[in-house]
Amino acid sequence: MQTSPVLPARGAPARSLHRFANPGRFLRISGRVLPFLSAAALVLTLAGLGAGLFLAPADWQQGDAVRIMYVHVPSAWLASFGYVALAVCSLLSLVWRHPLADLAAAEISPVGAGFTALCLATGSIWGKPMWGAWWVWDARLTSVLVLFFLYLGHVALVRAFDDPQRGYRAGAILALVGVVNLPIIKFSVDWWNTLHQPASIGLTGSPTMHFDMLWPLAVAALGYTLAFMAIVIARTRAAVLERRIHGLLMARAEAVR
């Protein structure tokens, strides 16, 4: 697995981004990083969720139901961050024809869809006891549902063509078009009146959340972020091998013919 005799050796050492495009090098580096990343993700996620469940105080009006926040908020952040990562990969793929970016984009969207589904489900579970409704069609909830459908659309589109290159191209265009949804999600609670409350944590101003609740949330969010990265890297590694298998079989079929 260390070297890649299967792939044709690249000519002159390519400059700029394509330095990271060599799948053999990607497998080597990611193989070294992944165990540490996974371990850190596991420890931080369990620590954050455990602290949220047992150490953090209840809320003065929501009671213990506020603890759902430690799952809901990190998954909501990752739903958006994951889409940013998908858009960056799509840009690399469309403009620079980066071959690893194609594979990574195809592997990010199912994971992003999963975390968005987690965000929607935990939000629903939180909304029923607090607001009194599982779901409302306000601007925040609706725009996150649109994000979920964008992810699903990308998952389907990338796999819809016989020629994978065309799928990657179409998926990248869809992903970049969908970027307009990200500011809508972020600012929906400020631009329109919604049932969903505005953000507690922003770049400016003191967080409107007690510190005893803030640190478990930060730890859980960091853990979930590392978990998301580890999952995407692991899936991309598998995809690199699968592409190599596909290439080998095709080459063999050609040789036989």
């Binding site: 139901a65 579970i125 978990a227 580890a230 899936r235 699968e242 063999r252």
Partner: protein, 45 residues
């Protein structure tokens, strides 16, 4: 704890989703590596 069923189901989902993704990625990588080794081992014509 108040609202215990809601809290438990949210945390269960919150653990289950990442774990399911991690396990499936691991299985996929292992099977791809095995298949690749099997193909590569065969003599090429």
């Amino acid at each position: 704890m108040t609202h215990l069923p809601f809290i438990v189901s949210a945390y269960a989902l919150g653990i289950l989703v990442p774990v399911a993704f991690a396990v499936s990625a691991m299985v996929r990588f292992r099977s791809a590596r095995r298949r690749l080794a099997a193909i590569d081992a065969r003599p090429r014509r």
